[in-house]
């Protein structure tokens, strides 16, 4: 009997980020900057939603449930990768936090960036000087390589769990369900209205940023 592990909003977030990172890479690489900005706005919405969902969402989506200190990570490794509740393990949580942090960095730096010809500006670029915007743009480009490395690590870890620990992580991220060991606490789902409220708040925030954060825009 499989039990719920990831709720729909968390899975939708995960797979839309997969798609958006691929699109962001492609549109950046081919200098389709108008499209690239739209991808960034979609990622801004998705990440804002995810942060809210990490505060108000289902148990396995909440930061308070998976962000842990080094002690928990060491204990988890000593106990040979056993963890008493559904959701991110303390080690996996490190990866989640790093990926989220880098994605946030990419989206925020993109808001202040500009292409080298001055054809396209991020919606907040005019809040900083041209030189600072150029420097941020360079970081925006460089940090993508770090993101790629983290993604590679993420995929490698999933393969490691599958091949060495015989634990399937991919299926549950698609179906939302997994066979849990006895004694492992399943997910406690948050009500739908809360997901809708988080989405509405994230949308409002995104639209405000895209408009250049009025009335503060210089």
């Amino acid at each position: 009997m499989k039990q719920r592990v990831w709720d729909l909003p968390t899975r939708l977030f995960h797979w839309s980020i997969v798609l958006l990172v691929a699109l962001a890479w492609w549109t950046g690489e081919t200098e389709e900057y108008d499209f690239h900005l739209w991808v960034g706005y979609a990622a801004l919405f998705a990440l804002t939603f995810r942060i809210l969902w990490g505060l108000f969402g289902s148990s396995t989506a909440r930061f308070s449930a998976f962000v842990r200190g080094p002690v928990a990570v060491i204990r988890y490794l000593r106990d040979r990768f056993s963890w008493p509740s559904a959701g991110h393990s303390p080690l996996g949580a490190l990866s989640v936090v790093a990926l989220l942090a880098l994605l946030i960095f990419q989206v925020v730096s993109g808001l202040f960036a500009a292409d080298e010809d001055g054809l396209v500006n991020g919606p907040l670029a005019s809040f900083v000087s041209i030189d600072l915007s150029d420097a941020i743009t360079e970081l925006h480009e460089e940090a993508f390589n770090i993101l790629l490395a983290l993604i590679a690590l993420h995929v490698a870890a999933i393969l490691f769990y599958r091949l060495v620990l015989r634990k399937k992580l991919l299926g549950p991220m698609i179906t939302g369900r997994a066979a849990l060991d006895p004694g492992v606490a399943p997910m406690r789902a948050a009500p739908v209205w809360r997901a809708l409220a988080c989405a509405a708040a994230a949308l409002a925030f995104t639209l405000w940023i895209v408009a250049g954060a009025p009335p503060f825009r210089p």
């Binding site: 010809d117 001055g118 054809l119 005019s126």
Partner: protein, 187 residues
Amino acid sequence: MRIALFAVTASLAALAACGGPETSQANNSQANIGNSASPPATAGNTAALPAQPPASKEEALKIMHERHEMMEGLGKASKEIKRQLDATPTDISVIRRAATAYYDAAPKMASLFPPGTGPDMGKTGAKPAIWQNGADFEAHIRDFQAATRAFADTAAHIDRDALRASFGDLQKTCKGCHDKYRAEMKH
């Protein structure tokens, strides 16, 4: 033949203007690059690519450096214009200064692309296709030059919508050429 000679002369003049070497060896096969479908070359045709490569590697690298600096300056000018067009109130003096930078740079553009200043010579975003499609590249430069003149005219007045439209036209000429003839280049 007459046109080819004109092209050589114009190219040499352009080279001399940017401090390039005055080589006297005429090379008709290369001079044909400047002999595009353009109207007959005149002394005012500043869109013709130089026919002769720079005399030395140092000279070539110097031109490439100058080219890079000029492009970077234009990128900055573009950003300044864009910001002022989006800002309230618009500082027209910034736009006029940047428009002048474009206006002054445009006639020099072709002279900064002599043969032998491609990626084989050193670090550059200039694609070899520039010298394979010389006539087309020159046509892009002429479009750019016309757009800089039009923008300079527009900048004489204070009309934000007209400035936006005119600047959009100018940027299209940048992008049109870059998409075709510029490779990605890391600083």
